[in-house]
Subunit: 324 residues, 2 copies
């Protein structure tokens, strides 16, 4: 990557930015993601310009309960992917609960190893406060990294919350991390993870209880029905802090990609994801129309009528829709 002169905050020519991003200029990539994150009016132009350049990157989601070692694993994974010559993007998404602050900074320290490697682009995104949060801005940021020539984009959640399943919805391949001694462990986790994981990693495998976690996981996975030719979710033991098992994760991510290519699953997943993306954008646009058409005054009048018990929220919503 050849760094270009800094891009001022003032003039932005989207076609030029996209061209520079395509050539891997990290400043152009950063600027495009900022446009997306700030919901700039230019975002439509950005999206249109990126469209023909996307579809190459393999999006790998990394998720799991807090404390399981997601950032350490991501960092080790980046090192391993770089060894195989791949260009890597990392998007760390922070749903920013008011009670989970501080994690971001600590986690990013582990990423310092890659700070001087221009084959790696690392970006944190706070999704809280955005209209639609994760749903809206993150897929657009992934498009930027994809168009920017990343072979693999790792998307990772920072902190805790409801975002695990959302991450799975954005990824081609979802890696679920578990670890021994996590308190409620596998049992508590089982509600959701069996539906979303393509690859399971038992991290901190040098600790007591790792074999038990692996056994529990295996027996839970064996309960699912399996069609002929379907993907068999592997369980990998790893010690990410010592980079053990990371090569196997990369191998399985590649194997999963190969299986998806062959089975048509990749196109199915991506189509499903894009459907969600289109729908979310449409809903956001309509929400903005409410504000334009009705103005605050009308919504205030409707709310006052509901507050007075003269009408109910559903009838008020009908009135609002009729005005659009």
């Amino acid at each position: 990557m050849v760094p270009s002169p800094p891009l001022g905050r003032g003039a932005v020519a989207v076609p030029e930015l996209v061209e520079r991003a395509r050539d891997g200029d990290p400043r152009a990539i950063a600027r495009l993601i900022s446009l997306v994150e700030d919901a700039s009016p230019l975002v439509r132009e950005v999206s249109a310009a990126l469209a023909p350049l996307t579809g190459h990157a393999h999006i790998v989601g990394i998720t799991g309960p807090p404390g399981v070692g997601k950032s350490t694993t991501t960092s080790a994974l980046v090192t391993e992917l770089r060894r195989t010559g791949k260009r890597v993007g990392v998007l760390a998404v922070d749903p920013s609960s008011p009670f989970s602050g501080g994690a971001l900074l600590g986690d990013r320290v582990r990423m310092q190893d890659h700070a001087t490697d221009d084959g790696v682009y690392i970006r944190s995104m706070a999704t809280r406060g955005h209209l639609g949060g994760l749903a809206w801005a993150t897929p657009q940021a992934l498009r930027v990294l994809d168009a920017g020539g990343c072979d693999v984009v790792v998307i990772e959640t920072v902190g805790v919350g409801q975002s695990e399943v959302d991450i799975a919805g954005l990824a081609d391949t979802t890696v679920i991390l578990l670890a021994p001694g996590m308190g409620d462990g596998v049992q508590a986790a089982k509600a959701g993870i069996l539906e979303i994981g393509d690859i399971y990693v038992v991290n901190k495998a040098d600790r007591d209880g790792a074999s038990q976690v692996t056994r529990d996981l295996r027996s839970m996975l064996s309960l699912g029905t399996r069609e002929e030719g379907s993907w068999r979710q592997p369980i990998i033991k790893a010690v990410a802090s010592r980079s053990e098992g990371i090569d196997e994760i990369v191998r399985q991510v590649d194997a999963h990609r190969e299986w998806m290519d062959g089975s048509g699953e990749l196109a199915r997943r991506r189509t499903h994801r894009i459907r969600d993306e289109i729908e979310t954008i449409a809903v956001t646009a309509l929400r903005e129309k409410f504000a334009d058409v009705s103005g605050d005054a009308r919504l205030d009048l409707l709310a006052a009528a509901v507050l007075a018990g003269e009408t109910d929220p559903f009838a008020a919503a009908d009135t609002l829709i009729d005005a659009v």
Copy 2:
């Protein structure tokens, strides 16, 4: 409350249900909340019938980081409110992260004390999987409890995640719980809680570090600007497991209500909340219209075009909106 004969799953007459709920029949209340939770087609009729009966209940939100003692405090608070003769509803909302299962059952055990008290109505709601989750179903459930004659409704989150601020958005009065020895403690929490708390409780105040948490909190709260006549957020020390400090929480909740009544803040907050409620219902209705008008086929075609790089998600969303 006079229990009426059980209501069969079959025939539902909304006016009769609402009348029974108004008289405090717990079965009718349960049935109405289930209709809301299941997004029954009857929900509009329910909402219309409830409208003239709502506005009495004081909605108190209880929130704070995991492990701080939310359920214990809620349970002690219910006992104290019952001593003052108030009818109480409790709505425990579970955002159901796949990694936080199990909490619900354990927490509910503490509520067993109130199981035989017919002046208390306790309900858990899982919001995950619902369209709009918390945003849509929870306010309607609060309306049912309000119309059902509760003087106070305590709404509490179970588990962790992004729901703290959402809870604050649903409550008239928001109580933030903190405790010593929570690891990141006040420092980590400060990002969001200073904007949303009306009353702060330092729970587990018999433990080491409680005074420090109180001091930190006080100095953080003193940083905010305060207008003449504005509410001064109290900091209460409590040991909920021994019911210490709970009477003071009730006193401060009442004082906050009185201040809101006098200052016009109650109407302001409720109007704001209802605006959000109307808007969310309208957006949900429009999303359903997308499905009706465009059908899956059109959205699939649009997604395929985006996947092929022939168009971008924003242009596709425009096409979808034009079809409505």
